[in-house]
């Protein structure tokens, strides 16, 4: 492998890791507040079709992104209402929500299959920098890659360095304490589940507007579920999620590159690798770290009278 190949793999890794990074930072916020939102896959699909559709209709990718955020907020509020106010089973609800959104996005997107949209997020190209491998690797991406990176760091700062973050973590670890301090647990959970949903929506829009600019039914291709796994092995920390997402992306890129390099294994088996890899990482991280990092009240509804 020469330098160019390595750069290609790393660079593709960053691009492929970005949707996972966005979604997993959102999921970390929501899980830290005590709500297990398994509807990520569905939210990503809705984000993807909404972004694609609005970009096609208005011709403006930024308006598309705004509409995606608005739609994700509404969907996030719906799922928050079912999970938090109606205290429904969070696992079953998340899966039901994904089934619902998969169907809805397919109906809405039926007439958008095979359409090309020109106004998408394109790679920023600094011609001056061609020939400097490191600069090519780090500076040759679309704007959303950088936004995702900074959002992850901002989420980390919010969670660990601010009062709001303390409330957020307390809502998931010890909601009764937070309640006794006079902070509204339900509001915290609503807020961060909805914010998490917006992140997932943007991640979906990244898929249809930057990663592979088109609409295909079910184009999230299991990334929502991988996100949940990623949150687990990132130990609910946005900084680890950055590393995890890019590592996953590099692995994903590698599974394509191996095929192109003519490895004797049938390509179908190489395509399995991105799905086997998270399971192995999960096992390794559990073996290394016996401590349970999960928020203590994850997926449990908060009921004040319950003792």
């Amino acid at each position: 492998m020469d330098v160019r190949t390595v750069i290609w793999i790393l660079s593709m890794g960053i691009t492929a890791g970005t949707p996972l990074l966005l979604a997993s930072v959102g999921e970390i916020l929501s899980e830290k507040s005590g709500v297990l939102n398994l509807g990520i896959e569905g939210l990503m699909l809705m984000g993807a079709i909404t972004g694609f559709m609005v970009s096609f209709l208005t011709g403006n990718k930024w308006i598309a992104l705004l509409v995606v955020m608005a739609v994700s907020t509404i969907l996030g509020l719906i799922i928050s209402f079912i999970l938090i106010t109606l205290r429904a089973n969070q696992i079953a609800t998340g899966i039901a929500f994904t089934i619902f959104c998969t169907g809805l996005s397919a109906i809405v997107g039926k007439s958008y299959i095979g359409i090309v949209v020109n106004n998408t997020f394109k790679k920023i190209n600094f011609e001056v920098l061609n020939g400097f491998p490191l600069a090519e690797l780090l500076l040759n991406h679309d704007i959303l890659v950088y936004i995702a990176f900074f959002l992850a760091i901002a989420a980390w700062f919010l969670m660990y360095k601010t009062k709001t973050g303390l409330h957020l973590r307390a809502a998931g670890d010890s909601p009764a304490t937070l309640d006794s301090l006079g902070v509204n647990v339900v509001f915290q959970r609503y807020l961060f589940t909805t914010v998490g949903s917006v992140f997932a929506g943007i991640s979906g829009a990244y898929l249809s507007l930057a990663y592979s600019p088109s609409w295909i039914e079910g184009m999230a291709a299991g990334r929502g579920w991988l996100t949940i796994a990623l949150v687990n092995f990132a130990l609910w920390n946005p900084l680890y999620a950055i590393a995890g997402a890019y590592l996953y992306g590099i692995f994903y890129a590698l599974s394509f590159r191996l095929e192109a390099m003519g490895v004797a294994v049938p390509s179908y088996f190489l395509r399995m690798l991105p799905y086997i890899f998270p399971i192995i990482i999960l096992i390794i991280s559990k073996l290394k770290n016996k401590r349970n990092y999960a928020p203590k009240y994850l997926s449990l509804p908060y009921i004040r009278e319950a003792k």
């Binding site: 398994l38 569905g42 079912i82 109606l86 205290r87 429904a88 089973n89 696992i91 079953a92 609800t93 899966i95 039901a96 929500f97 994904t98 089934i99 619902f100 959104c101 998969t102 169907g103 809805l104 397919a106 109906i107 809405v108 039926k110 039914e217 299991g222 579920w225 991988l226 949940i228 796994a229 687990n232 049938p266 179908y268 088996f269 395509r271 399995m272 799905y275 086997i276 998270p278 399971i279 999960l282 096992i283 559990k286 073996l287 349970n292 009921i303």
Partner: protein
């Protein structure tokens, strides 16, 4: 102010009512969405859905679809009773189909009496093995089985693609499929001119059998106990790890049987499309049926009609994804309505009265504890009258 109080037991009548309302609301919602997108929902629902539920050939076709989805729903239900989430039904279904096709293609000369049991055993073993592998990380290292089972779906789908495009590809066509299996490997048809095969009777027997085992045997009791109350099960000396493995292997094997019946009774070959999202349908059915095997048959019939209608819509070029959306929204409404089943919701006029109620309860406690007469207590708190206690 709304006051929410937990009921001692779930209320079955409310549960059934919630189910019916959920279905009706979901249909109205999907009509609304179809209307907004410029389709004609009334036409779709009256023409296609009425045919699948009220015409003889439609009913038979529903029963054909009921076979795999009722077995797959059980595959969600059995682990769920033991407290585990099996979301990898699609993968296990394909594993059963792979096993059955493999046996039929490898030994084409066997007589039916040997061939079909052999296919069944292969399907059970291979699918059960997948279930076993999926639950090991949970039992050994505490890794969420939802993730592992979901990721295994994708892994197995790629394996199926490898088989149908490469290893077992049908040399006669370019379509993604294996060659047809031998006549001896096919299940006999029950009613002529339909696709309803013997597997239907088999599936119904399995549902009844699972219902009996779960409700009337020690195995079923201990399995349910280790799911409902793991600590209690531990105290009672029940090995909950054993039930983790057994429930998952049994669940996966049931999905495997469904895959085998689909190959041997319907398609007669392996194709990468034989499960049209049966996994998620099964999940919805099991939860809408509130994890009761008998209810799975009825809810399953309702949903198989939807799936059949979906196939028809697909052929006619209509948006068949409406069926997927309908499934999701029915379950969402049912889950949202759970609160009515498990909690009593009361409208209390204002908060002050509510506090008075709590005071009254405390006073009642004191009255009972100190064996005071209510009259003497009333005197001590200066004439504030309290009734009850």
């Amino acid at each position: 102010m709304i006051k929410i109080k937990k009921r001692r037991t779930a209320q079955t009548s409310t549960a059934i009512l919630v189910g019916i309302i959920s279905v009706v609301t979901s249909i109205l919602l999907s009509c609304l969405i179809l209307e907004m997108l410029g389709y004609q929902p009334l036409k779709i629902f009256t023409k296609i859905f009425a045919k699948t539920y009220f015409r003889w050939d439609g009913i038979l076709e529903n029963l054909v679809t009921l076979v795999p989805i009722s077995l797959c729903a059980l595959s969600v239900l059995v682990p769920a009773k033991a407290g585990f989430w099996n979301i990898g039904i699609d993968g296990q279904f394909y594993m059963g189909a792979i096993a059955a096709t493999g046996v039929a293609l490898a030994f084409p000369g066997l007589p039916a009496a040997v061939m079909i049991p052999l296919m069944l055993i292969a399907a059970i073993v291979l699918a059960g093995l997948v279930g076993y592998i999926c639950i090991i990380p949970r039992v050994k290292w505490g890794i969420n089985e939802i993730l592992v089972t979901i990721l295994f779906n994708s892994i197995i789908i790629y394996f199926v693609r490898y088989l149908v495009y490469d290893a077992w590809a049908d040399p006669k066509t370019v379509a993604a499929q294996t060659p047809e299996i031998a006549k001896a490997a096919r299940l006999p048809i029950l009613i002529s001119d339909s696709r309803l095969h013997v597997g239907f009777i088999f599936a119904v027997l399995i549902v009844l059998g699972i219902n009996y085992i779960l409700n009337n045997s020690i195995f079923g009791y201990e399995l349910r106990l280790s799911g409902d109350n793991p600590k209690g099960a531990d105290y009672a000396g029940i090995d909950s790890k054993k039930y983790a493995y057994l429930s998952m292997v049994l669940g996966a094997a049931l999905a495997g049987i469904a895959g085998m019946l689909e190959v041997s009774g319907i398609v007669y070959r392996l194709q990468p499309t034989i499960s049209s999202n049966y996994g998620f349908s099964a999940f919805v059915i099991a939860w809408v049926a509130r994890l009761s095997p008998i209810a799975v048959l009825f809810v399953g019939y309702l949903f198989s009609g939807l799936l059949v209608a979906g196939f028809k819509m697909q052929i006619m070029g209509l948006p068949s994804s409406i069926v997927g959306m309908l499934k999701g929204s029915v379950l969402l409404f049912v889950l949202a309505g759970e609160i009515l089943v498990y909690y009593k919701i009361k409208w209390v006029k204002n908060e002050k009265k509510n506090i008075d109620n709590i005071n009254r309860e405390n006073i009642c406690k004191e009255v009972n504890k100190n064996k005071l007469t209510l009259k003497s207590y009333n005197k001590s708190i200066k004439g504030k009258y309290i009734d009850g206690c």
